[in-house]
């Protein structure tokens, strides 16, 4: 198991490194990163000063070395607008996004497992049809439109929920509901497919031939095997959740990393943009490692390879 985790982590690490390098070169591809950092109306002198201060006229290799060195010490530049270290700003916003994503994923998984299993038990039955419709709609709906329609309906017209902002749990209801839609739709399909496969498998026949109770057949035999496929998809969804979080945070005004990034774009605060990307990439990397561990714990064949 150790070698499996190590190998997968190495792969993720390479991806992470690749991304960081890409970010570095991306900023310099247009020639002069100064233009990215400073507002459009900055004077020529201000640009000269800036360039010299941050060493953007040094050779590329030197810059890269400095970049890596800074990364190592946790210095991701300084946010122009907020006059604070970019890393600090990003880390402040992180918990909100993590909470949003975490609760959403947990709910999506739990609901998908229940509904997907019920749908798989009687393929073609009522539950199955409902599940198919839900997942189809979930996969087709633009999240920003759902968010807006939700606001129109529940906040403006019915006045049940607040339109935006963060605060006590009621403010979280709509953002989480909107963020749920896509991953839930997809996971329901995956759970359903995996459970149908598991329930028609040979080892389930054996379990029934042994006289095992039906609940045990579903939740001990079939579900455990299905979880492997589900976890793989769920971890891919993590990247998608961040996408969704950007939209949801922007529409509902949640002070998370997504909104931070969009605001940074509008305000042309490149240090913040860069820091957001790097921190997000590291978070995803950590998530992947957790998923690999979970995977290895669930499947003994991987442990003994």
């Amino acid at each position: 198991m150790g070698s499996f985790i190590a190998r997968r982590s190495a792969q993720s690490l390479i991806a992470l490194v690749g991304l960081v390098v890409a970010v570095f070169f991306l900023a310099r591809l247009t020639g002069d990163p100064t233009n990215l950092y400073l507002p459009i109306d900055a004077s020529v002198e201000a640009r000269e000063e800036f360039r010299a201060k941050y060493g953007f006229d040094d050779p590329l290799i030197v810059q890269f070395g400095r970049f890596l060195g800074d990364l190592g010490t946790g210095d991701l530049g300084e946010s122009i607008r907020k006059s604070r270290p970019a890393l600090e700003v990003v880390l402040e916003a992180m918990p909100t996004t993590l909470k949003l994503a975490g609760i959403t994923m947990g709910l999506a998984l739990a609901l998908a497992i229940v509904i997907g299993s019920l749908a798989a038990y009687r393929p073609g039955g009522a539950f199955d049809r409902i599940a198919s419709v839900i997942s189809l709609l979930g996969a087709s709906a633009p999240d920003f439109w759902i968010a807006i329609s939700g606001i129109i309906l529940f906040a403006v017209t019915l006045n049940w929920l607040p339109t935006s902002g963060m605060g006590p749990p009621i403010y979280w209801v709509m953002p989480i509901a909107v963020l749920l839609v896509r991953p839930f739709g997809l996971l329901v399909q995956v759970v359903r497919g995996a459970m149908i496969g598991a329930l028609s498998s040979a080892y389930v026949k054996t379990a029934r031939a042994k006289g095992v109770r039906e609940e045990r057949v579903i939740f001990v035999h079939a579900l455990r095997n299905s979880m492997l496929a589900v976890i793989t998809v769920a971890s891919d969804q993590a990247a998608g959740l961040v996408n969704g979080a950007v939209i949801v945070e922007t529409v509902f005004g949640f002070p998370g990393v997504g909104k931070l990034m969009i605001d940074a774009i509008i305000q042309r605060d490149f240090a913040l943009i860069q820091a957001s990307i790097i921190v997000t990439a590291i978070a995803i990397f950590a998530l992947n490692i957790l998923v690999d561990i979970a995977y290895a714990m669930l499947d003994p064949r991987i442990r003994h390879h």
Binding site: P142, W145, I247, F285
Partner: protein, 308 residues
């Protein structure tokens, strides 16, 4: 010599490809509706701006934020009008061109290039395959929206850049799918049989591998089209995609965001258009998957029986 085996299944009358495709489409009613809807949208995309250009862009401050159903000024105002008095329905039709155009360009690019890269990675192996797969991993492991956002920030949101960015962020899906298929097919016995016959690599790729890979690519592309549309809409919504005065459905939703309490129809109808189109694409992709597989095709060719 007697052949004591059961006779093969009866073969239907040979038909033209188009005729049999239409027949199979008719069997799956939902997919049929989806196909008709998509055809309609495609027509809007191609002919919309030419036919309705003036109607959709002309300012009419009298009809500012007119609610849906106010057809006194003409049938075009059936969905209402926006803040500048422009009727919503024709604008949706016009915006179809940009929305679908960008998505089509992006999907074609990533499908062709991604498919080729996946083919190379799967069949030849070696360091080239490793590089291709690492590239796919890097792009895939990161939220596409953030990537697109950064790239468009650096390179400015022009249409060409938008298409390129969307194509690159979706390419890994094609690369991985193609590579997985090629790896699996490569080991199949009939490929070994062809090698034993002396077939060249080119022949094996063209005759044995590609015919199985292309239908999968098309199925993936159909689904991916929906995804790209949603991504472009999201980017335009956030203000980083297509810029005014060009119009896409996503942009229209963004523009309606300020009027949620007073004129909800500004944001609602364009979003509905996005939703229905992606829904239709998802429905159609399931049909495409069945229709392109000779072993599964019977599901679309034989009437379903009612069971006791």
């Amino acid at each position: 010599m007697a052949i004591a085996e059961r006779p093969a299944a009866p073969i239907p009358e040979p038909r033209g490809v188009l005729a049999s495709a239409l027949a199979m489409l008719w069997r799956d009613k939902l997919a049929c509706i989806a196909a008709v809807y998509l055809l309609l949208i495609a027509l809007c995309a191609i002919f919309g701006p030419a036919l309705l250009g003036n109607v959709g862009t002309g300012l009419n401050l009298q009809m500012r934020n007119a609610p849906p159903g106010s057809i006194e000024q003409g049938w075009t105002f059936i969905f209402g009008a926006d803040a500048l008095g422009r009727p919503i329905l024709p604008r949706i039709v016009i915006a179809a061109q940009n929305t679908l155009g960008v998505a089509t360009a992006a999907v074609l690019t990533s499908m062709i290039i991604g498919g080729l890269l996946g083919l190379i990675a799967g069949y030849s192996g070696g360091w080239l395959a490793v590089v291709i797969m690492r590239f796919a991993d890097i792009v895939m492991s990161f939220p596409s929206l953030l990537l697109a956002v950064v790239v468009l920030y650096v390179f400015e949101p022009r249409v060409a850049n938008l298409v390129l960015v969307l194509a690159i962020t979706r390419m890994p899906v094609y690369i991985r799918t193609t590579r997985a298929e090629v790896l699996e097919i490569r080991e199949r016995m009939y490929v070994s049989a062809a090698r034993v016959l002396g077939a060249s690599t080119g022949r094996i790729l063209a005759r044995h591998i590609a015919p199985l890979v292309v239908p999968t690519l098309i199925t993936v592309a159909t689904l991916d089209f929906a995804f790209v549309m949603l991504a472009e809409s999201a980017l335009s919504f956030l203000g980083i995609g297509i810029q005014p005065p060009e119009v896409t459905w996503g942009l229209m939703v963004a523009q309606g965001r300020n009027y949620l309490s007073s004129a909800w129809w500004l944001a609602f109808f364009p979003g509905l258009a996005i939703m229905l189109t992606t829904l239709a694409l998802n429905l159609l992709s399931g049909w495409v998957r069945l229709a392109t597989d000779p072993e599964q095709r019977w599901r679309l060719e034989i009437k379903k029986r009612r069971h006791a």
